[in-house]
Symmetry: C2
Subunit: 351 residues, 2 copies
Amino acid sequence: MNMELSGRRKPTPEPSHRTPEADTEQALSVGIGLNAAIVAVAENEPVALVVRGDADSIGATDILPFGPFNPVEHRTLEGGLRAWVHDQTGLELGYAEQLYTFADRGRHTEPADATPHVVSIGYLALTQAMGHHGLTNGVWRSWYQYFPWEDWRRGRPEIIAHEIEPRLKAWAEKPTSHKAAQSSIARADRVRICFGLDGMAWDEEKVLERFEMLYEAGLADEAARDGHSSAREWTDRPKLGLPMQSDHRRILATAINRTRAKIKYRPVVFELMPDEFTLYELQKTVEAILGPHLHKQNFRRLVEGAGLVEPTGEVKTRTGGRPAKLFRFRREVLLERPAPGVRVSAPPSRN
Amino acid sequence: MNMELSGRRKPTPEPSHRTPEADTEQALSVGIGLNAAIVAVAENEPVALVVRGDADSIGATDILPFGPFNPVEHRTLEGGLRAWVHDQTGLELGYAEQLYTFADRGRHTEPADATPHVVSIGYLALTQAMGHHGLTNGVWRSWYQYFPWEDWRRGRPEIIAHEIEPRLKAWAEKPTSHKAAQSSIARADRVRICFGLDGMAWDEEKVLERFEMLYEAGLADEAARDGHSSAREWTDRPKLGLPMQSDHRRILATAINRTRAKIKYRPVVFELMPDEFTLYELQKTVEAILGPHLHKQNFRRLVEGAGLVEPTGEVKTRTGGRPAKLFRFRREVLLERPAPGVRVSAPPSRN
DNA sequence: CCCTATATACTCTAAGCGAGTATATAGAAT
DNA sequence: ATTCTATATACTCGCTTAGAGTATATAGGG
């Protein structure tokens, strides 16, 4: 998460010297939601598991598997999450890690003190799309349907130049409150950095920052749904990816962000792979997640050189060319070094 | 956070096909605690801000500033945290970021369904120890008092070879449940990797993993306080750092972990520095956090080369040698590139 | 039998990093 | 005043590795 730019905030003024105990009663009226962004790669497409939400004002929106945390039933947060996911989709999660806890969104639609407030704890789970023994509910959907501007596999997505860039630049020009103006970085600069405009490099790890910016600018459907004034000011708000219910798209953005970052320094790709795979399949999986194409020869050298894989001795035929050696993940690397990820060669800049 | 090794867990069995809504009532009986690990560097010593807790069975233990999240009063989690910190210490936080949300500790001391369960959201705040305008309560304490095994500034801490290594190895030998045995990595290997034993490299970013292991092995005071059986089996449990109340030491471990990791890839050291500083002071601050000594010439070259700092034109005299140029943080780097951290040259291995 | 797509192997080059050496300038000690 | 010492600053060297290019082997399809 890149919180640097938003880290410095003035604290909210508060009545002084209240003791922690005095507030316990009120604090209890907070529900805790567990949300799972379950990620896989199917046919070179990165996908997330979603279930269909109820129809609302903007139509049926997708939701991530989720449920409330109940400490009486669930010993741990992660245990509760696994239970909910299993109940709602039939899936038994493998690898899972906590992402972030959100609390400050969606308030605008609710009366300030009527509806119970909900804190969302987001989780990232990695699994194989194939071999899901018994998926009873939900569908795998490409994560680029929710974030089309993140898909750089066929070059720079046109939606950036056509829809996003002009509107964000207009938004950056708009008069802003003096509070925001005194922020260390001006809006126009934030826009350029976030979306790699005006010759700035595209940073594939700014997924969350980009979505937050679109939300803040009122360009995400969710901003309109939540009743943000910034959204009302657009007369021609374009469709920028599929929206999701509540703050689930934000959680998915966080999940993509984390996946892209982590794949580079920890061997987590293998959670997405079958037990045996070719190096080409491995590369395609990494590319599905990170975007641009990697240099094949270097990719192979780096992966093998890092001791991440070992040949099984078998080959996979019918690959369209010379039969490919099959490899498996060397779990022993975890014992040998501060286990590395898939070092990726920086692709040629495509801006 | 390194969750790889613990990520694969069997999900808790649950009654099937409960809908999220059905549990809302019960889920509400969860309190949310906001906890701040406030970090600074004072006289080359990394310090955290603690307040003194009440006396309990093992004496007065330190606590981090904390308080419950009350959504009616606080618009955001971070806002609530800032308010509590200000109330309890008089400090106005600058940089702050969320760390992790904990829920699965301390249950053993409580009756399973009587006391309200608490979920702790940990935050990391970075600030300058000096120039704290109006610290009304609390003291700055070296974080190595809580984690003496993390202090490698004067070589390998003796506490590892004398106290930790023999006991953890004994613990690794002990018969373990078949559930733990089937875990992908055996205990003995986890111990070696965690603490850099038997010639393995010391990884300064495994702070949390190490504390968790000591807790699991029953070697942390908190494990005894929480009534863990693993703690009762030691007849000569040594004092391994100062304990803290509740799970605060775990949160502090997470904070140290994050600080050490982040300082390398984001320019967060400067949150700990005064506006103007010499490169030597900057290096000492980095070393206070990361531990071992860095190569001075390379450090300077990397810091200046990355465009992180610019000379103010002034010099600082009375440094004991040639007067040192004063530098300031170049905030513009944030506009130029995916702003880097302080690239550190790996120090000569000291194992 | 040729074409093509893939797999696999080898080589070259530039950049960066770890590490060493040398010189300048202040305060402190004599 | 001179010497010593700690710091600051500048320059150099060599190894590793990442990025990129070229060449060869083996399958299926027309």
